[in-house]
């Protein structure tokens, strides 16, 4: 039996016995071989004394069991760490923030509670994966899409609570509606219209009356979400793509400006900015991006010409009735044609959209489509994860994902400053992708670019991992100094990111701590998550 900090072994043993009474002995895990499965396989602290390790795991099958476990944990002061499917790799896996926590593994709570085909929503439990939800929609033969990331092995609830980005919704949290939560004292709460007994608009109207509470349960440790509603999207009749490419570094600002103007009118869904040149490993290109400054615009343009590769590439997707998407395509094509030197084609970004001139039409049977095409109609995949993994490191990776204003100027500045930070510390920064982070499906104007930079993790070289931690910590600082921040990060870095949210003497985290103390007075839920610590583990803030 492993140890729980601050709890004597005999007391922990009693707690485990109580957990066993609640969920059955077979659903309580204490052996090393079982708990090894709860290590974060992509941990940047792999094999080091600081690696976050669970002391046990318990897997309930119902809300009532979750409540009973929480009450027992309060009684014995056992720290819990809730996970859904635990596959948030690159941003943290199943391992807790606070070593010695007992993982509350919700994978057995895997029921699709409701699918409403007329109002296009579903209500699910945390153990439901995107694959499970897709299977349920197919089983019912419903032509509906659940917004999902690549890959689809995670859970809608876990992903949304992390503000994961999905297709077609954008921010999956913004695509949710209504939740059920077990608070730190075991109390059961329903938000929005769910607070009304038998409320019939729980999953369609998000706010209820009074303050909206849902947001406080994302990236936090105030409760354990046991149900959540999500919007579903009808299959579009057609999907068209417009690819915009340039061999000129300075065209970026105009490309972004025109695409933004189109999207804020609800014309097209943007992909973000990709750089085929910046991602290639061709020696001439690597040599320039390794040098301080990362090359001038003229040098980059010369490289693009020599390599016959676009410096920047964007795409717009148009989804809906045939006549509408045709008209949108034509409007966007005309607007973008005004930028001299721009290359336009009716295709997607290679690797994430159709590579040829196709109009994807909603099929009678998804099996008639390629996997790429079928993903537009909600078919999840494991392949995208494979592609990322094979491209970078099979040992694992860590994402650095700062958000910045959606302008070409700011994106070029970020590449310069963050790139130089990497280069000073002998890390490579080409021109990593900047995904569009918004509620794109709604045609929402509020959006940002999210640079997704991948750092490889080693299973055998802790010195390499130490240097990677050092560079990412410095990047977090440089980003914050320029008004940018990561939107999501791994447990090992959450404290550092939260520390940069320091407006008015850290008023934000101080308010989070007030809420924490109120809803989880014994501090048993997910201690340290996103820098929110219970009172007894709180350190003096510098």
């Amino acid at each position: 039996m492993r140890s729980v900090p601050g709890v004597v072994p005999a007391r922990y043993a009693e707690a485990l016995q109580e957990f066993e009474r609640i969920v059955g002995k077979e659903n309580v895990y204490t052996s090393d071989e079982d708990l090894d499965l709860y290590r974060d396989g992509y941990s940047i602290l792999w094999g080091e004394p600081e690696e976050r390790i669970a002391a046990g795991a318990v897997a309930p099958a119902s809300v009532e069991q979750v409540q009973d476990i929480v009450r027992a944990a309060n009684k014995y002061r056992i720290p819990l760490y809730a996970i859904s499917t635990g596959r948030n790799l690159g941003y943290g896996g199943s391992a807790p923030n606070y070593s010695g926590s007992v993982v509350l593994d919700l994978k057995r709570m895997n029921r699709v509670i409701e699918v409403n085909e007329k109002q296009h929503y579903c209500i699910v439990e945390p153990g439901v994966s995107f694959f499970d939800l897709y299977a349920e929609l197919r089983r019912r033969n419903l032509k509906l899409i659940a917004s999902q990331p690549a890959p689809g092995w995670g859970s809608p609830i876990g992903n949304a609570l992390e503000h994961g980005r999905g297709n077609p919704a954008g921010d999956n949290f913004r695509n949710s509606c209504g939740m059920e939560v077990v608070l730190g004292n075991g109390e059961l709460l329903r938000t929005g219209m769910g607070a009304l007994p038998n409320g019939k608009t729980w999953a369609t109207y998000p706010d209820g009356v009074g303050p909206s509470l849902d947001g406080i349960f994302s990236q936090s440790n105030f409760g354990i979400v046991t149900k959540m509603g999500f919007n579903l999207f009808p299959w579009p009749q057609t999907i068209r793509h417009l690819r915009i490419a340039t061999h000129n570094y300075d065209d970026l600002d105009a490309m972004v400006e025109v695409c933004n103007a189109l999207q804020t009118q609800g014309i097209g869904r943007g992909s973000g900015v990709f750089s085929p040149l910046g991602m290639t490993q061709a020696p001439d290109v690597v040599a320039v991006f390794t040098r301080r400054g990362g090359g001038t615009a003229a040098e980059i343009n010369r490289l693009a010409k020599a390599q016959n590769m676009a410096v920047f590439m964007m795409s717009l997707a148009f989804a809906g009735p045939d006549k509408v998407t045709q008209a949108q395509f034509e409007v966007a094509h005309e607007a973008l044609s005004a930028i001299p030197g721009i290359e336009l084609s009716s295709a997607g970004i290679p690797g994430i959209g159709p590579a040829n001139d196709t109009v994807v039409r909603a099929p009678d049977d998804l099996a008639t489509l390629t996997d790429d095409q079928a993903s537009n109609f909600g078919k999840p995949s494991l392949q995208r994860f494979w592609e990322d993994t094979a491209q970078f490191s099979w040992d694992g990776h860590l994402w650095f994902s700062p958000l910045l204003p959606q302008t070409g100027e700011e994106l070029r500045k970020a590449h310069q400053l963050l790139g130089d930070t990497c280069r000073e510390m002998d890390f490579y920064w080409g021109l990593p992708p900047a995904l569009l982070y918004n509620s794109a499906a709604m045609g929402c104007a509020a959006s940002a670019y999210c640079i997704v930079k991948n750092f490889s993790v080693s299973k055998s070289d802790s010195e390499k991992n130490r240097k990677t931690r050092e560079v990412v910590l410095r990047l977090i600082r440089v980003a914050a100094d320029n008004g940018w921040s990561e939107y999501r990060t791994a447990p090992a870095l959450q404290q550092a990111v939260m520390d940069t949210f320091s407006f008015n003497n850290h008023a934000y985290i101080r308010t989070c701590e007030l809420i924490k103390d109120a809803v989880d007075p014994n501090g048993i839920l997910s201690a340290g998550r996103y820098g929110i610590w219970p009172r007894h583990l709180r350190k003096a803030r510098s």
């Binding site: 090894d36 499965l37 895997n110 694959f131 994860f385 099979w394």
Partner: protein
């Protein structure tokens, strides 16, 4: 620590004697397999499949992406009965299938890594039940090691423990591989002493 016997140089190892179905009656119970995956694009995959087929294994060809076999075949099967699967694939295919298998209370109980060390030459490391690994060895000639690997996974004993006392499988979590390397593996419900 992995001992010298567990690091098998193909050039040094002796050929494994494959158990036949006729001989299986006297041996410990074999683990039933619902699918045995291989990649027909590789010579090793073809050699592996040929032997697995002789052993009566339910073969399934993959081409890198295991989404289809997992979603259409393994997951429905695992929802009904926890039945083992095996294969010779790239590491990533094993990695994702191992992750998905955990939802069904299963996991990798045996992993052999086959790392490219020169043209058509591989270095092999085996992780799993210590008794089995002590006895196992892989053939040397050509891609004979892949046939041997198929023999091991298709005659794998039923109900193995993954406790460190009985198994070295935990050490496999520290392995470092490249996309060129291959792994043979068994995913199964382990014996839990609770």
């Amino acid at each position: 620590m992995t001992n010298r016997r567990e690091i098998l140089q193909a050039a040094l190892a002796a050929a494994v004697v494959l158990p036949s179905f006729g001989a299986a009656a006297a041996a410990p119970a074999r683990m039933p397999l619902c699918k045995v995956l291989y990649d027909p694009r590789t010579r090793a995959g073809l050699a592996f499949a040929a032997t697995a087929k002789r052993m009566g294994a339910p073969l399934h060809a993959t081409h890198g992406d295991v989404t289809g076999v997992w979603f259409d075949e393994l997951q429905p099967q695992w929802r009904q009965h926890r039945t083992a699967a095996a294969g010779l694939t790239d590491f990533h295919s094993l990695f994702v299938l191992d992750m998905m298998a955990r939802d069904a209370g299963m996991r990798a109980v045996y992993i052999a890594t086959h790392q490219v060390c020169a043209r058509d030459r591989f270095e092999h490391r085996l992780f799993g039940p210590r008794d089995l690994i002590r006895q196992a060895s892989l053939a040397t000639a050509g891609y004979g090691w892949a046939s041997s690997a198929a023999g091991i996974v298709t005659s794998f004993p039923d109900a193995v423990s993954v406790a460190a006392k009985y198994s070295s499988i935990a050490e496999a979590r520290n392995i470092e591989l490249t996309p060129c390397d291959l792994v043979s593996w068994v995913i199964a419900p382990p014996r839990r002493d609770i």
